[in-house]
Amino acid sequence: MKSKKKTAKKAPKLSPKKKPAAVAPKISSLEAALTLDVKTEGLEPVFGAAYLMMDKAFVQLSGDRAGKITVILRPKDPKATTPKALAEEFLSDLASQKVRWAISRNNQPVREFIAEQAVLIANGTIPPPSAAEAAPEPAAEELTAEQRAEIEKLISEVESEIKTMNEKKSVPDPKGIKASWEEKQEQENKA
């Protein structure tokens, strides 16, 4: 398989100090309206934050998706929340949405590559990593004397267990009850 080299754009550091302030919300007794610059806030974060408000608010988006978008928030239950609280919550969610979307965008090539690898492992094109590759054991020199003794004890226990199992295997089994599915298939095919 050819592996494509994909590089993500260097992502900016998002810090509250550097974050451009959104246009101050216009609050009335019925609703809150926020006008946002799409270039600054990003289209997906604005949509994302608006979507998340839907359990509490009726949300209306209007404007130009390449320029400025106005978000109007009206409480679904005016007794449970206020337009001002909705506007604050929207801005807070918008800040988190920007981080979530930045992480998602930056890692898209990696996620796609790993998904491709998973398909190749699943269909047998490439082997899965061996246990040794997956979790390298610490080198023997790094083990303390106590740890080495413990491991040796475990090994001897397992060896003794295997020995007992092998001895049990020699017990007659005329009906083939202990045979695996593959062994049975083989026997049936031969018959």
């Binding site: 260097k10 550091k13 998002l14 810090s15 979507y51 992480i103 790993i114 998904a115 998973a118 492992i121």
Partner: protein, 508 residues
Amino acid sequence: MSRLTGLAKDVSVETGNLSAFNFRDMGGWHLLTNDWGQFLMMSTADFERFMAGKVGADDPLYPELESRGFLKARLDFRQLAANTVKKSSFQWFPGPSLHMIVVTLRCNQKCQYCHSSVVDPSRTDTDMDVATAKKTVDFIFSTPNPTICIEFQGGEPLLNWPVVKFITEYAQAKAKAGNRKLLMALVCNFTLMTEDKLDFLFDHHVSICTSLDGPAELHNKNRPFLGGGEAQQKVVYWLEKIQERCNADPKKKYYLPGALMTTTRFSMDYGPQIVDLYVKLGLEQVFLRPLSPIGYAKRVWKDVGYEPGEFVRFYEDTLDYIIDLNVSGKSDIMERMALILLSKIVKGEDPGFMDLRSPAGAVLGCLAYNYNGKIFVSDEGRMVDHQGDPIFNVGDVAKDGWTSVIDHPTTRACVTASTLDNQPMCQQCAFKPYCGVEPVFHYETQKSVFGQMPTSGWCVSHMGVFDVIFRKLRDPRSRKVLDKWLERDQCRWQESGNVPAGEPEVVR
């Protein structure tokens, strides 16, 4: 803050070095998960250091972040890909493994919340006939999954016993001829069970599952007989009888009956009593299942239903009671939903539970066959049809083949809608690697197979249950109990050689 949760106000974030992950503020600590099924629970202070890019190679957090795929510069691609394969094992087998056959719509009970859209016992016109049964089995064996699990559903399947027997024997003959692995299960209310039927079921290795909502006063209120009478006593009688026979014969040990409970508004005050009854009856697990507003339950929702948050509180309180019983040594009973989620979260395996998959089990994992041979994306889809809306009908065993079912526009819509990466809120949720959405549920409750997660009862209750499970995982006392459950569950499957991980969860 939305239910998804977010960052605290003054957190500084260095996104360039962060690997792909979702996060959740759990109140004092944060949960991080990634697409590859790995998770980390860390203090909020550590989370904020990590987000700010301040965790260096000498930091105690570093090895765990690295080994679990949270450090962008230290990703082990092949290992993470292998984790993905294991976690989504259901994706690598073609075609559905679970086939639910409704052999009759008739039922002798009139459950308050009936999901199954049943009819009166006199309506024999809703019985599956043998010709349709044969075509149904032929269709099932034309689907490509090497493992087939046939589950008898109803109505009350024992009201059409000859067809249950026919399907069992015919399917077993076909499985033998075609070298297919076949599992069979019967979901019934036990009220029509007899020794002869039981003999047949044991002889043919059909596992048995029933409904037991709790103590008599609760069960009989939720699940009364048509025309009155006490149903719970019959269930308890047969549960004990079957257990006795299973326990007397080591070969039958793995066919111990299972029981399921459905939570109604009436159940809310009975958590400990329900568990105590299951313990008394020697049942290994209790499955605390929420009620879905589908089928008849939708009509009576105001009487038997509840808010999703109420279910989550009931779930947590009852799970706490079960954990206490385990800690005190009074019982080792397990809770099934917790076990399903723990298999996904801790073991990184798919336990074969159709509802919590991405994409959902609809068609890709399961199919439901009505008494008349019509094929549906799921049993819930069949119930919607019974209410007069055939939207989830994807074929007919008399005239359609597997290719037309998998290519059906409804199949495509359900798969697209239930792929969590297509769901705006789910794709950012920390529970995404372990969760799923159900297109039929959302069609019924929100008139869209996609649904709208911020207002979805499905999302509220599942998110709540995930919160509970992760809180238990962080609590050492509960964690010890949960780890034991996982160990026992693994041993059970290994010993029985019956249903390994990744195969269908027949107990629904």
